[in-house]
Structures are given as C-alpha cells and as structure tokens.
C-alpha cells in the first residue's frame, strides 16, 4: 500500500512535468505551426539560469536566515529569464522562417537546441557534470499513518495543478488567450481583425518557455540534481506527449502527460529492471500512436489539401 501511494505520487509529479513541457509544444504548434525542437534544451536552460543566480548570490554571501525563500526567488528568476529567452528565440529563429519550408524550421530549431546544450556544457563551470540543485521547499512530511508524504511532493503537485489551471484560464478567458486561439485557428483572419502575429508569438513563446522552465525546475527539485544533456530527452518526450494528446490541443497535452507519466512509473515499478526499459516502452507507445492514430487522442483528423 505504501509503495503504491508513493508510486502514485511519483506518477503524478512526472505527469505534471510532461504536461507542462507538452503545453509549450502545443502552444507553439497552435500559433505558428512549428515544432520547436530546442524546447527541451530551453527547459534545461531555465534550470541553469536559476543556478547561475544561485551561485552568484552564494558568492556574494547574501544567503542567511532565509535560504529557502531566496532559493525560490532564484527559481522564479530562472523561469522569467527563460520566458525572455523564448521571446528572443521567436524573434531570432522562428520569425525569419515563418514562410520557409518545414524542413528548414526543423533543422534550425534542432541546431538551436545543440547551441543551447553545448553552451551550457562549455560555458557553465564544470557544465559537463551533473549539478546538485538546491532545496527550495520546506523539509518535513505529513504523516498519514500508512504513508509519509513529503511537503515537497505535495507542494509540487498542487503547484503544477494550479499552474495548469491558470494556463487554461489565461487561454480561455483573457484577451491575449483569445488572440492565441484566433491565431491558431486562422492566422490571416486573425491578422485581418487586428491581432498582431508578432505580439501573439512573443506571448506564446514567453508562456511556453516559462512553463518549460518550471517543468525543468520541478524535475531538478524532485531528483535533487540536473545535467546539461537532459534537454534532448525532455524535448523528445514533451513532443511525444503532445503528439499523443493531439498536437495543438492544450487539454490533449495534459491527458498525454498523464498517460506518459503513469505508464513510465508503472514500468519502473512493476517490470524487472524497469528503469532501463522505461524509455523503450515510452517511445514504443509513441510509434504505435504515430502509425495508427497520428492525430492523437484529442486531435482532429487533418486532411491534406493540394
């Protein structure tokens, strides 16, 4: 019973991470019809940006009584900085290719991912090694008689739940959300009624990248460590999740995240030597989906027009 509950908590946190990354993919695809293959690396950039501020603060000796609070502040800085990084990416790499061939965008974003990943490796001190991520959330746990639930897990879980809800509210009930939805339905019609695609793009990329950074930080917090080359796997899994859920559909991203998170945890928990096989099973599911239902769980079937 105890392991079961622990596994459930694990599964939920993993699902939240995947869902947050996949929401980014869906937003980008919805607004611009692009897949940002650098998105996974952008998430990792978020972790390292907050680590940079953390190291700087530590070097200046600002930490004292409220270490946990300041750590949280560095994380928030990392998230916001990643959001601006996303805006820069949209301006520098996505916008010039708006009318270009899909292949070009694909290779350009892959190259961008390499640039981000290798920059972290080469320019962050000892970037090639795993780095410890500082604790930000209060220690301790709730004793539920049968199981000990750490505060950390609870906060992460409810935090991401609130976050995803906020994203839904933002997309469905604000003016900017309306612009995003309109642009994803028909960009030219949206432009005709006065919605600037550049502004929408900036918002979408800020939002998506910041959410990705949050996902990265949640992952780093949960495992206590991070590495520069997690980005590739983050990106491919996030993309897979959004494909399974239905590309361009934010609800689908959440459903896909849940499916992926639960399946992986299940494989780790119940298959012997499961950790080695979890990627195997995950990608196998993606391949099956792509072959038999490429539009995903919630996606609409798209017919190609000449």
């Amino acid at each position: 019973m105890e392991t079961l509950i622990n596994q459930l908590v694990n599964a939920f946190i993993l699902s939240c991470t995947y869902a947050l990354i996949a929401v980014g993919f869906s937003l980008f695809f919805g607004a611009f019809n692009v897949i940002n293959f650098a998105h996974g690396d952008v998430c990792i950039a978020g972790i390292f940006l907050s680590l940079i501020l953390y190291g700087l603060l530590k070097y200046l000796g600002i930490f004292g009584a409220f270490e946990g609070g300041l750590n949280l502040a560095t994380a928030i800085f990392g998230v916001l900085a990643t959001g601006f990084l996303g805006v820069l990416i949209e301006r520098g790499v996505i916008r010039p290719f708006r009318k270009a061939d899909i292949l070009i965008v694909l290779v350009a974003t892959t190259a961008l991912g390499i640039i981000i990943r290798e920059s972290i490796k080469n320019f962050y001190p000892a970037g090639g090694l795993p780095h410890i991520f500082p604790k930000m959330l209060p220690d301790g746990a709730i004793d539920l008689d049968i199981v000990l639930l750490p505060y950390e897990s609870i906060i992460i879980f409810f935090g991401s739940l609130v976050l995803i809800t906020l994203v839904f509210l933002f997309i469905n009930y604000t003016r900017f959300g309306l612009a995003i939805r309109a642009t994803s339905q028909d960009r030219e019609a949206a432009m005709m009624v006065g919605m600037s695609p550049n502004q929408t793009g900036a918002i979408v990329f800020f939002l998506g990248s910041a959410l990705g950074a949050i996902a990265g930080i949640i992952n780093a917090l949960y495992f206590g460590a991070t590495r520069f080359d997690l980005g590739l796997l983050f990106g491919i899994k996030g993309f897979s999740v959004s494909v399974i859920g239905g590309l361009g559909n934010v609800y689908g991203a959440v459903i896909g995240g849940l499916l992926f998170g639960f399946m992986e945890t299940f494989v780790i928990a119940f298959v012997p030597e499961g950790t080695a096989w979890k990627e195997f099973v995950a990608f196998f599911i993606v391949i099956i989906f792509l072959i038999f239902r490429p539009s995903g769980i919630l996606g609409e079937k798209v017919f190609e027009k000449v």
């Binding site: 070009i104 990608f283 993606v286």
Partner: protein, 381 residues
C-alpha cells in the same frame, strides 16, 4: 572562353584545391590553420558572389569531367605518400570517407525526397553491431560481413521505413528519433551486445594471407598500417559515389525528386509513392550500415557511443550544409566537417557548438547550402 583557356582554368583550379588540401592537412600551427580557413571561406564567398566565376569554373569542369576525376583519384591515391609520417592524418582521411558514404546515404532520404530522419545512428549501430556479433559468434571475416551486415542493416532500414513513411515532416523526425533512441537504449541494456562496455575483439580483415596490421612498403618507404584501410575505403567510396550518381540520375532519383516537390501530385500521376520511399530508406541504411561495418573492423571495437543520436544530427547538418541532392557538395561538406574539428584540437569541446552555429547562420542567410543543386539536364543543347 576558348578551349585552351578552359583547360588552363580547370588545371589551375584543381591543382590549387589539391595544394590547399595538402597544406591544410600538413600544417600544425593553429594560426596558419586559421589563415587557411579564412582563405577557404573567402574563396567560397567569391564563388557564390561572382556568377561569372562560378559559370566559368563549372563549364571548365564539365568539359574536362573525366580528366578532373582521374586527376582527383590519382591525387587521393597518392595521399598516403604525403602523410606517410603521420598515421593520424590517414585516420582522418578514413573517417572523412566514412562520413562521405553516410552522407551520400542520407542524401537519398533527406536530399532527394525531403524526408528528414534521425535514424542514421541506428543504421550505423546496426551495421557495426551486426558485423561484430557475426564475427564473434559465427567467425565470419571482414569480406563476408561487409555484405551480410550491410544487407542486415538494409533490411532493418526497409522494415523501419514501413511505419516511418506513413508519417511526414515533424512526425517523421519524431518517429525516427524515437527509433534511434530505442536502438541506443536497447544495445545499452541487453546482455548480448555487451551493454555499456560494448564488444571488443572484432577481427581485422585479411586477404589471401596479407596482413592488414603491417604497413605496406612501397619504393623503400614503410607506410603506416592505416594505409591498407585507406585504400579499401577509397575504392568503396568511389564505387558508392558512382552508384549513387547512377541512382540519382535514374527514374528512381527522378521519382524521389518528384515526391519532394509534391507528393499528392505524384500519386495523382499514378506513380507509387511508398516503394521509392522504402527504397530510399533501404539504400540509406545499406550505405550507413556499410560504414558501420567498416568502422567496426577498423577500430576493432564497437560500443554504445557508436549509436549515439548525435551522429544522426551531424549527418543532417552535413547534408544541409553541402546542398541538398548535390553529391559533390555533400562530399565536400562531409570532409570539411570531419577534418576541421580534428585539425583544431584545441576547440574539440566546441565541435557541436560550432556545427550548430554554422548551420543556424547558414539557414538564416543561405538556406540552399554551400553548393545548391543544379537543374537536371538530360540533353546537352
């Protein structure tokens, strides 16, 4: 331009290129190398900017096509005599040839039919691992493996293509990347591939009792043992380039180009779309698997890094940089991207960073690559 002038242009430019290559390979100091790279960049820039220069050069080389080819082959065959002192330079040349073969293979998918896939690493690993397993368990030699393991890789590629070609663009990239990662995970996990430790003891080739570990002695000059491999891979590279050119000029190449331009229009013309695509994947896998086989027998060790997904990314970068569907451009960029990081050892850590930056700048400012493909010409006129 008259005939003798063209002959002059052709001879001077070819000799210049050869001299440049030799100088680049033999120079050790970073400063001189940087000067040479800047010269090369200026030359390329001039070639791209001046339409007259490009036209004259291409006309000269078209007229003396056979002579230029023969001269090039003679030059390449004589390379070990220049590099005799340094086995490392010959090793670099062998690696360039392997990358050229892989890039030619990838070109069938990426260049001819616009199918961007990231399964090259899986094909390479398939070739390397199957030849290692074959020679360890069945004691087959190099000359058997080079065909059997390549064929196995080809079958693997064709089987992989059946689900892959149902998808397009982003989805195709995703599914092939998933396959590449699965393959990597698989050989890293299962026991019979040696797991993370890999397989060592892949036998070196032998031919009629000739010892490949002993360097040949030519005209009293003892060459390093890599020379043997160098000559084998040169022969195969030439054969494969000729084969690739034939395929690209055939109806198969034309069909692949047609699919690239408009897949729906192709099928509306009553042309089967799926078979050429599977064919392209199979050929790609055979050539890449061949490179893997050769690599395994040359290094005598295979390990999981040989199936790293970064190989696929680098290959895609090579094809885009060289110019899609242009064999000589691709060969040039494959050699360039293999030799450059080896010569600039001080910047070895920045290899991928530099690749990424080059490609991004290239796509922003010159999306058609260094040498864009020319239009097909069937009749001289």
């Amino acid at each position: 331009m008259n005939r003798s002038m063209q002959w002059f242009v052709f001879l001077v430019s070819e000799l210049l290129a050869m001299g440049f290559f030799l100088g680049f390979m033999m120079t050790e100091s970073t400063v001189k190398l940087t000067v040479l790279v800047v010269l090369l960049a200026l030359g390329l820039f001039g070639y791209r900017r001046s339409a007259r220069l490009a036209l004259n050069l291409s006309q000269a080389f078209t007229r003396y096509k056979l002579s230029s080819f023969v001269l090039l082959v003679l030059f390449v065959l004589s390379l070990p005599f220049f590099f005799g002192k340094s086995p490392y330079l010959i090793h670099i040349c062998i690696m360039s040839c392997l990358y050229i073969i892989m890039a030619i293979g990838l070109n069938f998918c990426l260049g001819s039919a616009n199918m961007t896939h990231f399964a090259t690493s899986a094909f390479f690993g398939m070739g390397a691992y199957s030849s290692a397993l074959l020679s360890i368990h069945l004691h087959t030699g190099f000359w058997v493996n080079i065909f059997v393991a390549s064929a196995l890789a080809g079958i693997f590629g064709a089987l992989l293509a059946i689900p892959i070609i149902k998808t397009k663009t982003y989805y195709l990239a995703l599914i092939s990347m998933a396959f590449g990662l699965i393959f990597f995970q698989f050989i890293n996990t299962v026991k019979f591939t040696g797991g993370p430790a890999g397989l060592s003891g892949v036998p070196r080739p032998s031919l009629f009792g000739y010892d490949f570990m002993k360097g040949p002695t030519v005209l009293g000059m003892v060459l390093p043992f890599q020379t043997n491999y160098f000559y084998i891979i040169i022969v195969f590279t030439i054969l494969i380039s000729i084969l690739a050119r034939r395929v690209m000029k055939s109806w198969m190449g034309l069909t692949l180009n047609y699919i690239r331009e408009d897949e729906i229009a192709t099928s509306c013309q009553g042309i089967t779309v799926s078979f050429p695509k599977i064919f392209a994947f199979a050929l790609n896998a055979i050539l890449t698997g061949f490179a893997g086989t050769f690599y395994a027998h040359y290094i005598t060790y295979v390990g999981p890094p040989d199936a790293d997904i970064m190989i696929s990314v680098v290959l895609v970068i090579i094809v885009i940089l060289g110019g899609m569907d242009n064999l000589s451009g691709i060969a040039f960029s494959a050699a360039l991207l293999t030799i450059l990081p080896e010569k600039f050892r001080a910047f070895q850590d920045y290899r991928l960073l530099i690749y990424g930056t080059i490609v991004l700048l290239m796509l922003l400012f010159r999306p058609s690559g260094l040498f864009p493909k020319k239009l097909r010409v069937y009749k001289k006129g």
